[in-house]
Amino acid sequence: MLIFNNIVKNYEEPVLGPINLKIKNNSFVSIIGPSGSGKSTILRLASGLIKESSGLISYEDCVKPKMGFVFQDSTLLPWRTVIDNILLPLELTNKNISKPKDKSLMWLSRVGLDGKENSFPNELSGGQKMRVSIARAMIQGASLLLLDEPFSALDEVTRRKLEDDLLELWKVNNITVLFVTHSVTEAVYLSERVIVMSSSPGTVVEDVVIKRKVNNNFDQTEEFMSQVRYLSGILRQEGEGK
């Protein structure tokens, strides 16, 4: 359980809050909202990278879970090859994983980058960098995944494949996913719960549990469509309200 209790974040002016949220363990929660509404800020607060201006963030058992974070801009070390970038979390957490190299090659292949392991970041396309960053977030088996628009630089085929991989991973491994996206369909398709933000300052305007009667081809169902329409409507109101 990750709890946001009256969280406010101010820079020169207030940008976020107050936010009250409870993210249950093993849930898959998406955050959508206009650009600049504070989605990234929420993830950074959740991970402890920035400090809240007021309020309290707490984890269940008061232990910070092991986190994987895909930043909005792929944050790769320019002096490391792709594979060494992916191995970084293992090095830093001193995790003794058997065959780390094999594991990272597996992830590299899952994000469709076989053969790029010895490239440097500046030799990759935008989407490729993002995919390396995704592989890196996945490799250490985090129990809380914070994903900031991980797929928005990807073409639809790759994206769909990675979405399904992510769902698979989530189901099998009992992890919690906090997923920022600006695609309503993606949010509805993937998550159990969608949080909609509005901006200036960012607050939660809607917080819905996604109803999902079938799992196969959920995105072809009317149930899916109606929820997408509902959320899009809210978003549109938000956007035009400004």
Binding site: M67, F69, F71, L77, W79, L88, P89, T93, F120
Partner: protein
């Protein structure tokens, strides 16, 4: 062609300058004791081959030692600074003090301290003092310039200070450090020479000593031969550092097109 230009260009300039120098000296009939022509210097270099080379070697040795000492000292200090703002604020001014204290003025103290019999050691200390600051300032800048996003990445994975240092800050600061070292290696050489000027006893026989003695005896050709050796040594060391830089930064850094 493009490949060799980094070799041809400086060589051409040198040749051009040498020829210009020679012509000017001949044309103005500049007397030897004011400015010898390159040909005179070359001759003197040949004649005093043995003396000068062995002196150059002495200076070279001290330079390298001072450079290594200064660089490691400066990098360690900058690392220390990066660990604590308080330490940085407290010690940086001390480093500045050492930088701005003229070698000439503290040489006697150092000499008394290490003892006259250890003049070489005194020279080493002085040369190190002369050389350490640029590496310190640049390492400091490099470590501070580390991208905020990258820092966040490391925070996220709970990197220890040590890991952050060796896996993030040092690699990131490397181009900065190397530039500092490129300045520093020249200063080490200068430092070695100046320190020998001011603290050398009769036993030290580096290039400084050749320069003074040749100057005293008005042997300008030899004086310039020693100077030229010094300069060659300096350029050689600089090129060495540039080469090292090229190897270390090879692929990733924008500045490594050099």
């Amino acid at each position: 062609m493009r490949k060799y230009i980094s070799f041809i260009a400086p060589t051409l300039t040198f040749l051009f300058l040498l020829i210009l120098w020679e012509c000017l000296v001949i044309y103005n009939k500049t007397p030897l004791y004011i400015l010898p022509a390159p040909s005179d210097i070359a001759l003197s270099l040949l004649l005093n081959y043995n003396d000068l080379l062995s002196s150059a070697f002495v200076t070279f040795k001290i330079t390298i030692l001072a450079f290594i000492l200064a660089s490691s000292l400066a990098i360690s200090l900058a690392i220390l600074f990066s660990q604590s703002r308080f330490v940085e604020l407290s010690l940086y001014p001390i480093a500045v003090i050492f930088q701005v204290t003229p070698v000439v003025a503290i040489a006697p103290l150092i000499l008394i301290w290490v003892g006259l019999d250890n003049a070489e050691f005194a020279i080493l200390i002085l040369a190190t003092l002369v050389a350490f600051f640029p590496v310190l300032a640049n390492t400091n800048l490099g470590i501070k310039s580390v991208n905020k996003n990258l820092h966040e990445l490391f925070s996220l994975y709970g990197a220890s200070r040590y890991q952050r240092l060796v896996k993030l800050q040092i690699p990131f600061a490397l181009p900065f450090i190397l530039t500092g070292m490129k300045t520093s290696i020249g200063l080490s050489l200068i430092g070695a020479v100046v320190a020998e000027f001011v603290a050398g006893s009769g036993t030290s026989t580096g290039l400084a000593w050749r320069i003074i003695e040749a100057g005293n005896r008005l042997d300008m050709a030899k004086l310039f031969a020693a100077l030229i050796l010094l300069v060659i040594l300096g350029v050689f060391l600089f090129l060495l550092m540039s080469f090292l830089e090229k190897i270390l930064l090879k692929r990733w850094h924008d500045s490594s097109t050099f």
